[in-house]
């Protein structure tokens, strides 16, 4: 009998992959949550196909879920996997390149048969050899289907129902491989299937059998152990996706401002989760209108803003295009509204389920006329909460549309989130017109901040006519006067630029005395930070300036960038932020590192590129 060794790792990447109906998302979520409970840092990323149910066993139907566990701070869901769990040959084929040398593949031996190989387009009956991984990878075959059937033979379920539980068998195996007690997984299952005792019992049985199966394998396989993280600040945590965090950030802002939250929205991948999350929150008084189209999504929200509420709309690239004219109306009518764009691959319908940062210039400039709006971006799944809150605060306090850019990667991905308390969040104080104010019209404003006074329908004495036509600076009546138009254009721009007075400085992370400044924005923070840290550990000097506020830029941005000799802007587009910075920061040669493949950066490719630049 051979002995099982346990290797202690600082961090490990596990990828679960199978048919989109195989329950890989649930398996991955359960595993990452129970690891977090045991004290690990976690970061996850689901990778689903655009088809809901592509034909079983084909490459098009493969759905994945990647989990990164760490005993110290981790920033990304990881590049290549240490452990890959595949439910069929197609999943193996799709992920073969994404596994580390010396890694482990757990596979459903029942699915690794001729018909499965054919569906996945293998030419031989030895897919591991065909892919060239047989020598470098440890294989753990497990007849998941047979074992699950065996496990549930006394339950009297139909075979179809039985096979739905095989993901629990794989979860049990992975728990064994990582020396994880399964109690916490059982606790999660109790929450999920509490109302269906039969299903709960069945899933727990299969999970336990999977764990014991591993235990009894007596294979010469390394098992792993990832120590508790000591980098994580103490406190209560949960694991949250960027989309949910965005929804909750909007709710927090509405409560803090004492205003009802109104969302006008139209379903669009990958942004729909935000609408669905807010639709659940009737208990907190959130009003959601699922509109007839993207335009009605934003215009109904603009109506709610006019009526004095915290208004928001959420969408993805094509939807942002449809909303352009209404954003222009929000600029012109100086009404507060938050527009969340969960960016995906474009142009046109593009790659709906994949991630990109290709909407930046659309957000900044995609409107007719001189039409300045606030543009900001969240960096990680959990900080979507903070930036959705801040987007609302800025919109309400500065009477402007705010476009918040997130993306499919951080929207669907999860990270640890330290639970906030409403009392600890900043106050939100809109610039309302107040009883006793005389002569307030639709363009009356605070001369210092240029923020106009917000008069709410229903309040006597402040009746006004707002709209999309140019207004007279003094009277608020419509005006085509040339000098007045210039003044209004300048005023609207000054109002936005003034916001930089209340923004935090952009931080310089990594080595302050660096030979290379890496610039990023939005959802790439994790990969960039990870790569910069690795390079610095190797003794070279790199710094990161990562931007969350884009228009206006933080006040220290220009000087900070000008302080470096070599500057590279890394983004998941062809150079949109670099183009923007060239127009704002004189005297700097901006190098670019760009990728437009619908996929996030990998830390490895960034490290390699930075190393080349440092030569």
């Amino acid at each position: 009998m051979e002995k099982t060794k346990t290797t202690e790792l600082d961090n490990v990447v596990i990828r679960f992959s199978g048919d989109s109906g195989d329950g890989m998302q649930l398996t991955g979520t359960l595993f990452s949550n129970l690891s977090a409970i045991l004290g690990n840092e976690i970061s996850t990323f689901p990778d689903f196909p655009s088809e809901i149910r592509a034909p079983q066993g084909t490459l098009g139907g493969v759905s994945g879920f990647q989990v990164h566990l760490g005993s110290s701070k981790i920033y990304t869901p990881g590049d290549d996997a240490d452990v890959l769990v595949v439910m069929n040959p197609a999943a193996l084929k799709v992920n073969a390149k994404a596994i580390k040398k010396g890694g482990v593949i757990i596979f459903d031996a029942d699915a690794f048969v001729k018909s499965g190989f054919e569906k996945a387009g293998f030419k031989t009956e030895n897919p591991f050899e065909e892919l060239g991984v047989s020598d470098t990878i440890q294989l753990i075959p497990a007849p998941l289907s047979t074992m699950t059937q065996e496990s549930l033979k006394d339950f009297g379920f139909e075979n179809k129902t039985v096979l739905r539980s095989k993901n629990m068998f794989s979860l049990g195996l992975v728990c064994w491989l990582f020396n994880r007690p399964i109690d916490h997984a059982i606790h999660f299952l109790e929450n999920k299937f509490g109302k269906k005792p039969d299903l709960l019992h069945a899933n727990v049985k299969v999970l336990t059998d999977g764990y014991n199966y591993g235990n009894n394998l007596h294979l010469a396989i390394n098992t792993y152990f990832v120590e508790k993280s000591h980098d994580t600040p103490k406190g209560k945590y949960t694991s949250i996706s960027g989309n949910k965090a965005t929804a909750w950030g909007l709710i927090a802002a509405s409560k803090k401002a004492g205003l009802e939250l109104f969302l006008g929205s139209y379903p669009i991948t990958p942004a729909t989760d935000i609408m669905q999350e807010l639709s659940l929150r009737k208990d907190l008084g959130v009003k959601v209108v699922q509109a007839e189209d993207e335009i009605a999504g934003i215009t109904s929200a603009l109506g709610a803003a006019f009526a004095g509420r915290l208004a928001a709309t959420n969408t993805s690239g094509p939807g942002l295009a449809l909303k352009s004219e209404a954003i222009g109306l929000a600029v012109m009518s100086e009404l507060p509204i938050v527009i969340v764009d969960v960016m995906r691959g474009g142009p046109s319908t593009g790659l709906p389920t994949k991630t990109e940062q290709t909407d930046l210039l659309q957000a900044l400039y995609g409107r007719n006329g001189e039409s300045p709006a606030v543009v900001m971006a969240a960096g990680t799944p959990d900080d979507c909460f903070h930036y959705a809150f801040m987007a609302s605060k800025i919109a309400l306090e500065h009477m402007t549309p705010v476009i918040l850019l997130t993306d499919a990667f951080i929207g669907n991905g999860t990270s640890l989130w330290k639970l906030p308390k409403l009392a600890d969040l900043p106050e939100i104080n809109p610039n309302y017109s107040k009883p006793g104010m005389e002569g307030i019209n639709v363009t009356s404003r605070d001369e210092k901040t240029k923020v106009r006074y917000w008069s709410i329908p229903g309040v006597e004495g402040f009746g006004h006519r707002n709209g999309g036509l140019e207004k007279d600076y003094n009277t608020g009546s419509i005006s085509t006067d040339p000098i007045n138009h210039q003044k209004m254009v300048d005023t609207r721009e000054a109002k936005i630029q003034n916001i930089s007075n209340v923004l935090p400085d952009v931080k310089l992370e990594g080595d302050k005395d660096a030979d290379l400044l890496v610039i990023g924005w939005g959802g790439t923070h994790g990969h960039l930070m990870s790569a910069v840290n690795t390079i610095n550990k190797k003794g070279q000097k790199v710094a990161l300036a990562h931007f969350n506020y884009i228009n206006p830029l933080p006040k220290n941005a220009v000087k900070l960038i000008q302080g470096f000799k070599k500057v590279v802007v890394c983004e998941l587009n062809s150079g949109q932020f670099a183009t923007y910075l060239r127009s704002k920061v004189p005297g700097v040669e901006f190098l670019q590192y760009n990728k437009v493949q619908g996929q996030p950066f990998t830390a490895t490719e960034l490290e390699e590129h930075f190393a080349t630049l440092l030569k």
């Binding site: 004290g39 929450n191 009605a296 222009g328 709209g467």
Partner: protein, 340 residues
């Protein structure tokens, strides 16, 4: 906005803004504006609790001429913006001002969906069968064959009939008025204001510049009584200069008869039922065309049903009554959490 004990008696003047009205001299919109101001004063919702939402077009300028809260928005989107205003604050009286292009071309989608949802807004659809503000192109209601600047050889398009579209979208209220007929205009607008749900009022207005006389067949004073019928719920469908013409059913169709001829008596004439759920007869009335039939004015359909804004509010109240989560901090406490 608690209901006030003492109801103030408003006058039309209370609803007039200080802005100079800039429609062309002789435009039919003037009559609708003054009727609206009169109706609003009579209905008695204070100006500051009234929101006028308009899109783009000549008629949409109306929001500037009212002293209430107003929002002159973008082309076609008035219905969606009004939906947001009303759902956000159901206590406001919300009016949407729109034209045949704004409402039925670029805004067609929002129109049918606001009607379908039965959101409690009052819509004045100014139908002059032409694009006025862009200077004379055909609209979705322009009669087929009509020569305009964009149809120099006549349009080849089949026009929409707003009533058919409203009823097809499951509308609960449809009324029609003629710019020159102030009495019926005020009566119809008042009914629209009192109706809970989306009230569509088709306002037949004359564009003196680009489509002069589009409705003259009915509006000319000497023929008006014979060529139009003002429908009133519960009353017989009698019309004509001498009030001796009436409508009866002949098989599945409506027919004009003369009281006192061929043994027809007043008792034979149909009684108008605007509250009938069944749209069959209301649709027939709404689609009557000359010269054989009179054009129907007044309230053609007025059916009670739950409004969207009420339903949204009610559902929130029901959920809240049973909810464990009452505050944002409760929401945070509700999630799976652990100490690190």
């Amino acid at each position: 906005m608690e209901t006030k004990e003492l109801k103030i008696q408003y006058t039309a003047k209370d609803f007039k803004s200080d802005q100079y009205v800039r429609w062309c001299p002789g435009c039919g919109d003037y009559a609708v504006l003054s009727s609206l101001q009169k109706v609003m004063a009579d209905v008695g919702v204070p100006p500051h609790e009234t929101a006028i939402i308009s899109g783009i077009g000549c008629s949409s300028r109306l929001s500037y001429y009212m002293s209430s809260y107003g929002f002159h928005t973008i082309h076609g989107r008035g219905a969606a913006i009004a939906t947001g205003v009303k759902v956000a604050n159901p206590k406001l009286s919300v009016w949407q001002i729109t034209g045949d292009g704004d409402c039925l071309a670029i805004g067609g989608n929002h129109f049918i969906h606001s009607v379908r949802r039965n959101i409690d807004i009052n819509v004045l659809l100014f139908n002059n069968q032409i694009y006025g503000l862009t200077k004379g192109q055909y609209s979705p209601t322009t009669q087929k064959g009509y020569v305009t600047k964009s149809s120099p050889f006549g349009t080849v398009e089949r026009p929409f009939r707003p009533a058919e579209l409203t009823i097809g979208a499951r509308g609960t209220f449809f009324g029609r008025l003629l710019d020159v007929d102030l009495k019926n205009a005020q009566m119809t607008m008042t009914a629209a204001a009192n109706h809970k749900g989306t009230s569509i009022v088709e306002c037949l207005v004359n564009c003196v510049i680009f489509n002069d006389g589009a409705h003259s067949w009915l509006s000319e004073k000497e023929f008006r009584a014979d060529r139009t019928i003002v429908l009133e719920h519960g009353k017989r469908m009698i019309f004509g200069k001498d009030q001796n013409k009436g409508l009866v059913l002949d098989g599945f169709n409506l027919k004009v008869v003369t009281i006192g001829e061929n043994g027809v008596t007043e008792d034979d004439i149909l009684i108008h039922d605007a509250t009938s759920e069944d749209t069959t007869l209301q649709m027939k009335l709404a689609l009557m065309q000359g010269p054989e039939m009179p054009i129907a004015l007044g309230v053609i359909r007025d059916v009670a049903d739950e409004t969207y804004d009420e339903a949204v509010t009610k559902q929130i109240e029901e959920v809240q009554a049973k909810a464990k989560i009452k505050t944002f901090d409760d929401l945070i406490d509700s999630c799976e959490q652990w100490e690190m």
